[in-house]
């Protein structure tokens, strides 16, 4: 499979022989994991876990944060070696000694982390690790690589300049490059670990279409997501795991969302969006005519005490940039901010924190967490200023603050001295949330606060938001999840290409109207 990729068979659907063969025994799993265990030091990530994947079917892996989903993916792709258990491919036991071995066996993954090489071209990003070669002495066949890549995107019906450097692409475009990479390898099994986390509604639709194409071609898909609407849309089967252990599996057709949730968390969750009504007070934050040379233009809004203000828009609409400017991280070219009716100038995050604003960024790996620092040090970092110059003898105080806030968010960790790189994605997010809540802000800006968080914790975050506003805080909720925005917000502001296009009161918001506004459709 190294040098002789042919454009025509890039997509599995044009592999009639193989597809037919696979389909003929589609009741046999193409891939099966039995009794897989994996520990990281003292942490049991997986215990006797089992999964089956069938050709032409999508199996959804469902579990809370830290349940072991990503670990499973890494075992399947040869990145981690399991401590015990069996991996069967077409009924044959296999051991992957390296990622290459897994790739050769036809397993590819779109990982939860971005796997992108900024300085390299789109085409090369797809073929890195398995460049097509030509001639003697063998050399990289650039021409073929580029035409093949173009053909791939044509099949995906995505427009893409394959010679562009990846650093010039948008987040969504990058995602398609990753998907194209997975497809470029004749995979029989494609794994997608939270592929939709950074995609907009429209792009998610695109993805569904691609998954359907894969299924039609007999490819087995393993799909990981925390969003149930997606799971019910794409999956044929489900496998639930809890705390690294197998719980149940079956056909999606035979099960309801409530049942899945119950299996996943081991209890039932009453209400996902428990927004309580809170009387609104005076305006606490007022942003007037904020502009930026490239990112956004003339953005104004008011936030009242006890209010949750939702910001909706497609990825790239500029919401994050506006919030970062409010938080003093970037400098607006024009505009002013008033807090409690008084004009303030915020030139740095430090001043913003002092003014009572907190900002929970969307990119937790790069902007949020201090990955190799402990939970304790992460949570207390923004509080240091208040602690004074000397830290001697203040450990007890730091611990009690950390305990308070992480407890409320149901953090799962061994101890507070643990570095947060050892936590699962969702638990990292909880630490970061705890850090900001501990600053006791009067305005808290949450940028995609539940991205990658499991449903139980998501409910906890939402409940917590309600509690916050009940205590008199004000919340700005930036989210690309429509149900979340609609469920939680008192008011919804929709942005499109750097501008505020529409504002909805809670009562008048309908999903159709919001999506239309976000896509730039104007019909007044």
């Amino acid at each position: 499979m190294m040098g002789n990729t042919i454009v025509a068979d890039l997509l599995p659907q044009s592999l009639p022989d193989q597809a037919a063969a696979v389909r003929s025994r589609s009741d046999e799993p193409v891939l099966e994991l039995r009794d897989i265990s994996k520990r990281f030091g003292g942490v049991k990530a997986l215990t006797n876990m089992q999964v089956k994947a069938f050709p032409g079917q999508v199996v959804a892996l469902i579990g809370e944060n830290g349940a072991g989903k990503s670990t499973l993916v890494k075992i399947l792709t040869g990145i981690h070696k399991p401590d015990g258990g069996q991996l069967l491919l077409d009924g044959q036991a296999q051991r992957f000694s390296s990622p290459q071995a897994a790739m050769k066996a036809g397993i590819t993954a779109v990982h939860q982390e971005t796997v992108m090489f900024d300085e390299l071209s789109v085409a090369e990003n797809i073929y890195i690790g398995h460049h097509p070669m030509v001639g003697t002495p063998a050399r990289v066949d650039w021409a073929k690589m580029e035409t093949d890549a173009e053909a791939l995107f044509e099949r995906l019906e995505v427009r893409m300049n394959v010679r562009a450097k990846v650093k010039e692409l948008s987040i969504a475009q990058r995602h398609f490059v990753e998907i194209a990479r997975a497809l470029s390898q004749h995979a029989r099994i494609v794994i997608m670990d939270e592929p939709t986390a950074a995609l907009s509604q429209r792009e998610i639709q695109e993805l569904y279409r691609i998954i359907d194409q894969l299924k039609a071609a007999g490819t087995a898909v393993i799909f990981i997501s925390h969003k149930f609407d997606e799971i019910f849309r794409v999956a044929d089967r489900y496998t639930v795991l809890r705390d690294g252990e197998f719980v149940a599996e079956g056909s999606i057709a035979d099960i309801s969302e409530q049942q899945l949730i119950a299996m996943m968390v081991g209890r039932t969750i009453a209400q996902v969006f428990p927004k309580e009504d809170v009387p609104l007070g005076d305006t606490v934050l007022s942003v007037n005519g904020f502009s930026h040379p490239t990112e956004f233009d003339d953005v104004s809004f008011q936030l009242r005490k006890g209010e949750i203000l939702g910001f909706y828009g497609l990825v790239g609409a500029g919401r994050s940039e506006v919030m970062q400017a409010v938080f003093g991280l970037t400098k607006p070219s024009r505009g002013s901010i008033e807090i409690n009716g008084k004009k303030v100038v915020i030139k740095s995050a430090e001043e913003a924190i002092r003014a009572g604003i907190a900002y929970v960024p969307e990119d937790r790996q790069h902007q949020g967490g201090l990955m190799s620092m402990s939970i304790l040090h992460n949570v207390t970092l923004p509080l240091l200023e208040k602690m004074g110059f000397w830290l001697l003898g203040k450990k007890r105080k730091e611990l009690s603050i950390t305990r308070d806030y992480t407890h409320k968010l149901e953090l799962k960790a061994a101890h507070f001295g643990q570095s947060i790189s050892e936590l699962s994605g969702g638990n990292q997010q909880k630490v970061i949330l705890a850090k900001w809540l501990a600053t006791k802000p009067s305005v808290i800006i949450l940028d995609e606060p539940t991205k990658g968080i499991d449903i139980g914790s998501k409910a906890a975050v939402h409940r917590f938001m309600s509690e916050l506003v009940a205590q008199g805080l004000s919340v700005i909720l930036v989210s690309s999840e429509l149900p979340e925005v609609m469920g939680m917000s008192d008011r919804i502001i929709v942005m499109h290409q750097g501008q505020v296009v529409k504002e909805f009161a809670r009562s008048e918001a309908t999903s159709e109207a919001i999506v239309a506004a976000a896509s730039g459709v104007t019909h007044d």
Binding site: M116, E119, G129, Q365
Partner: protein
């Protein structure tokens, strides 16, 4: 065309600067512009260029090789001693030996960095001391001077083929090989991928340890080859030869726009960077700038070059030298 200019902006600016510099020097000392002087210039910068090309491949992986000057001294001393004691070993064999020796020394770096995942700057700082010390141990601190070396040994680097010195031919060959490696081999392409995003490189199945071992071995090989060339060219070997030369090599890369953060760098840039330093080193004695000024001028040039290079290049989260495996455990 405009695209070309856009992509190659740095290189074009640098090339213009060099042309300007050569012009200015020529006005002051026309002798600098003679063919003979130019011939001397390219001969003189050959070793710098060869080492810088190898160093570029290392820096591209987010690494650095501080041990090259010591490797050069050690292999240079070994082949000089060999030649002294066994004058009948042909020069080409010695050339081969110096390459193999250098490769072995580089391999040690490579294994420590690739297999044991140790930071390159620390490993090569350590081997830099060790290799330099071993040079002293093997030579007993004594010189091997021109009288101890055979005529053919000394003459090879400056012997001319088609009017051009062997040194320049070797540099040209290295240049072609480096350009080929960077553009047309999996090895070369994967070095860039590793430098761009090490943990992602692992996920797409690049064998990082093997690649790193390869690139440090290559760097050692080049240093070994240059060890022979250096000793033969200056007809003397002693413990301190090429002391501190690794910084010149790194400076040549940096001036040529190789990003110390890894993942970016071009062969053309490295050639221009080496040329820049070569011109300055050669011209200052000729235009009779007081020798006391040389160091200050070199320093200023490096600073100006990086300032020019860096404009518009805003890479956040920079490190001294970002490591390969650090983000592998960071999850998301």
């Amino acid at each position: 065309m405009t695209n070309f200019i856009h992509q190659r902006k740095r290189e074009l600016i640098l090339a213009l600067l060099i042309a300007l510099l050569i012009g200015l020097i020529g006005v002051r000392a026309p002798i600098f512009l003679t063919l003979k002087s130019m011939d001397n210039l390219v001969t003189d910068m050959s070793i710098l260029l060869m080492l810088a090309l190898a160093q570029m491949l290392v820096i591209v992986t987010r690494g650095i090789d501080l041990s090259i000057a010591s490797t050069l001294a050690l292999t240079g001393m070994m082949v000089a001693l060999l030649n002294h004691h066994h004058p009948d070993i042909p020069v080409l064999v010695l050339l081969g030996i110096s390459i193999v020796l250098g490769a072995a020394l580089g391999l040690i770096n490579g294994v420590l960095i690739g297999v044991f995942r140790l930071p390159p700057i620390v490993v090569t700082l350590g081997t830099m001391s060790v290799y330099r010390g071993l040079t002293f141990v093997f030579s007993g601190g004594a010189w091997v001077s021109s009288n101890d070396l055979s005529k053919s040994f000394i003459e090879f680097p400056l012997s001319r083929f088609g009017g051009v010195t062997a040194l320049v031919w070797l540099a040209l060959l290295s240049l072609i090989v480096a350009a080929w490696v960077v553009k047309y081999t999996r090895f070369g392409r994967e070095l860039f991928a590793i430098g761009n995003h090490p943990s992602a490189a692992r996920l797409v199945g690049i064998r990082i340890p093997a690649r790193l071992i390869g690139v440090y071995t290559l760097s050692g090989m080049m240093a070994g080859l240059c060890g022979y060339l250096w000793v033969a060219r200056y007809a003397v070997a002693f413990t301190e030869i090429a002391y501190g030369f690794e910084l010149n090599v790194i400076a040549a890369c940096v001036i040529g726009g190789v990003s110390i953060a890894g993942g970016a760098g071009t062969v053309v840039g490295v050639v221009l960077g080496s040329l820049f330093l070569g011109v300055i080193n050669n011209a200052l004695p000729i235009i009779q700038v007081s020798p006391f000024w040389q160091s200050a001028i070199t320093g200023t040039v490096i600073l100006v070059a990086v300032l020019v290079n860096a404009r518009g290049d805003k890479r956040g989260g920079k490190q001294i030298l970002p490591l390969h495996f650090r983000s592998a455990s960071a999850k998301g």
